[in-house]
């Protein structure tokens, strides 16, 4: 086709193809990719857990995430910080404020997820609705949550409030590690380990895995399925809230009503990349996606960052639809 040919030549002229930048910024991109990837991984856990238990892609999870971001912003605002200047806080006070914002954000996201499950999904389960109905409900819920933000807070992102400046703490291979990056990576790893232990080692975690494997049998074995489902949404929401907090200290201008959408799709991509329904897969997928995206950005130019992620999603689905580690939340592990 004429049009395709014409467009392709133009497109290729338009994409920056810059291996030099890729090599120069390799380590910096690795560090940025790791911190971005940790955020994806935490959100991806929510997708994966819900998918594992209900076989449902929870489209509204991106909104659960963005509610957490707004919660962080409002916590900062409520503590008396205003957009514009970055305060110079004593370390302990700073840590206290950040922890408070983290907890509020987690609670708000967790609460949103639980309300969502109660109001939107539970009536459908009671009526034994077909799968398509769940998906459509999820989309409807996603828009309702989004529009509530839009109508109350307007179309523009909240102006950024910073509690601390990103300052380089040390360098590895020429890559600057800022205090923000450090907080994100360390705290995310802690949360990931916590989530992994919770699902794989505790009684509730065993319940989640049992329901994922076979809901009916699990019920017969005395697992309270409804409680497990609520719990799953709650954990997914809490982790999304934590991710939202990290996202907000990384990009303080990120609280916008549409902000969850792209991040949600990417986190879902991460979940599919690792193998949806697979906890460790989501972690691996998140980190990988963060890295690939940042390398791709260096390679092709910043405009292509989101395109790289989506193309990656399509490629995985083509060649390995069950992801790197496979779908396995339900696989028995005692």
């Amino acid at each position: 086709m004429l049009i395709h040919h014409e467009l392709t030549t133009h497109v290729l002229a338009d994409i920056k193809f810059d291996p030099g930048a890729f090599v120069d910024q390799f380590w910096q991109n690795t560090v940025d990719g790791l911190s971005q990837g940790s955020i994806y991984a935490l959100v991806a856990l929510g997708y994966t857990l819900v998918y594992g238990v209900l076989k449902l892609i929870n489209f509204a999870h991106s909104e659960v995430f963005i509610y957490g971001a707004y919660a962080t912003w409002f916590t900062f605002y409520g503590l008396g910080f205003r957009p514009g200047s970055t305060p110079d806080l004593p370390v302990f006070e700073l840590i206290g404020f950040l922890l408070l914002a983290l907890v509020v954000s987690m609670l708000v996201s967790g609460g949103t997820a639980v309300v969502l499950e109660r109001v939107a999904y539970r009536p459908l389960r009671k009526r034994g609705a077909p799968r398509l109905a769940f998906l459509i409900t999820a989309i409807g819920a996603s828009f309702v949550l989004q529009q509530i933000l839009f109508l109350t807070r307007g179309g523009n992102a909240e102006r950024s409030i910073r509690l601390m400046k990103p300052e380089a703490q040390f360098t590895i291979f020429g890559a600057e590690i800022t205090n923000v990056t450090l907080i994100i990576i360390i705290a995310s790893v802690v949360l990931m380990v916590f989530a992994d232990v919770f699902v794989n080692r505790t009684k509730f975690g065993r319940g989640i895995r049992a329901v994922a494997q076979d809901p009916d049998t699990a019920t017969l074995m005395g697992v309270n399925k409804e409680r497990i489902i609520i719990l799953t949404f709650l954990i997914g929401g809490l982790l999304a809230g934590a991710a939202a907090f990290f996202y907000m200290i990384k990009n303080p201008q990120g609280a916008s009503y549409q902000g969850g959408f792209i991040l949600g799709i990417k986190a879902f991509t991460a979940a599919v990349l690792g193998g949806i329904g697979n906890l460790r897969g989501a972690l691996l997928g998140g980190i990988l996606l963060g890295l690939v995206e940042n390398y791709g950005q260096a390679f092709f130019g910043g405009n292509w960052r989101d395109v790289v992620a989506f193309v990656l999603l399509v490629l995985i689905l083509m060649f390995r639809p069950t992801g790197i580690l496979g779908e396995s939340l339900g696989k028995a592990r005692v």
Partner: protein, 377 residues
């Protein structure tokens, strides 16, 4: 179809029953004045229906017709084949951009007449449909939803980023069909919605015939089989992948067509109008009216497009309202306002009547009278 909305699934629909019992000639007798009325609507500008002074009525009617066309196209994908396509706006955008690229003086491509561009837009979007469908339609349905969502976003990002697509500057003076008024100005301009509305309604009628015939053919039966149980369909020898691609590409082509019409009427295309939320409105039109039912999706499209224009007060809240409507509908009436009925046996009705010895009454529509049984799990 107001009576039809009241009847619960499982009961008889008086209006549908009445319609099916009419002879072909009688059906035409009802249909032709109805269609004439539909054509005359923007000229009559009836006082209660009119959206003026808030919004120009003929243009509002074109908007409604455009949504109706989109809904018919999306219905092929969502309603008939049961594939959840959330990136339909992507196909719509491709259609609009193809129209702009071939007709606008801002584009470097050679110019073609608008009416020639319409089929080209359909073919190009169809190709995109196949490209997108091939990797994803082999997978389970919910992956398709998210990949199409990503696709809609990619199309928008490409429009932002690729220089020849002119990003925010867009394309001015997109072409329009030929014809001039008495005073020499062109008949199809962007202030007078009436010719555009007529063109769009004509296209809708053509597409309805096409889709209706397709529905009653082997292809349509395959789609219904896939929608209801893909595994069973595959086992019974339906090449599900092939028919899913057909549904996806066919739906895409109609989306491209409506995008091209939209570009022509507006006369301007840029990257601002193809956000994924609009995809949700399209989907709401299909689901609200009753996916799988042609009359239903028309009703849905009219609701989604017309109501915010008629009552401008609620225009800001339309996403919220239609989002809520989706949630509530899925709980209480998952089939939509006018649910789809099984039309598997093309001549089932006649066969049934012969069995009962009621003679050979010829019915235009071989639908079985029985409604779709409540889906139960």
């Amino acid at each position: 179809m107001t009576e039809g909305t009241k009847t619960a699934v499982g009961k008889r629909r008086p209006l549908g029953e009445w319609w099916n019992n009419l002879s072909r000639v009688q059906q035409w007798g009802v249909l032709i004045p109805l269609v004439a009325l539909v054509y005359l609507l923007p000229v009559l500008n009836p006082p209660i229906l009119s959206t003026e002074p808030g919004y120009d009525f003929p243009i509002a009617m074109f908007e409604v017709a455009r949504y109706a066309l989109v809904a018919i196209g999306l219905n092929v994908v969502v309603g008939q084949a049961g594939l959840l396509d959330l990136g339909y706006i992507g196909f719509f955008a491709i259609g609009a951009y193809v129209a702009a690229l071939f007709t606008s003086p801002d584009s470097s491509l050679s110019k073609l007449p608008f009416l020639v561009v319409l089929p080209i837009a359909m073919v190009v979007t169809m190709i995109f449909g196949v490209i997108l469908g091939t990797p994803t339609l082999r997978l389970r349905g919910d992956y398709l939803a998210i990949v199409t969502l990503g696709f809609g976003e990619i199309v928008r990002l490409l429009a932002d980023n690729i220089d020849p697509l002119r990003g925010n500057r867009g394309f001015q003076e997109v072409g329009h069909p030929p014809g001039t008024n008495a005073d020499g100005s062109s008949l199809f301009n962007n202030t007078n919605g009436i010719p555009w509305y007529w063109l769009c309604v004509t296209i809708i009628i053509l597409i309805l015939f096409l889709v209706g015939n397709l529905e009653r053919s082997r292809v349509g039966r395959a789609w219904v089989a896939i929608r209801d149980d893909e595994d069973a369909a595959e086992i019974m020898g339906v090449p599900t992948f092939k028919f899913k691609i057909w549904a996806f590409a066919g739906g895409a082509a109609i989306g491209g067509l409506s995008g091209a019409l939209y570009a022509g009427q507006l006369g301007f295309v840029n990257n601002q109008k193809f956000d994924v939320v609009t995809s949700m409105l399209f989907l709401a039109a299909v689901i609200l009216g009753g996916s799988g039912n042609k009359v239903g999706v028309l009703v849905g499209a009219i609701v989604v497009a017309y109501v915010p224009l008629r009552f401008l007060v609620i225009a800001d809240y339309k996403y919220l309202i239609f989002g809520l409507a989706l949630i509530i509908l899925m709980i209480f009436r998952p089939g939509g306002l006018l649910g789809a009925r099984q039309r598997l046996l093309t001549y089932g009705r006649q066969a049934y009547q012969r069995l009962l010895g009621k003679g050979e009454q010829i019915s235009s529509d071989g639908a079985m009278v029985t409604d779709e049984p409540e889906r139960s799990h």
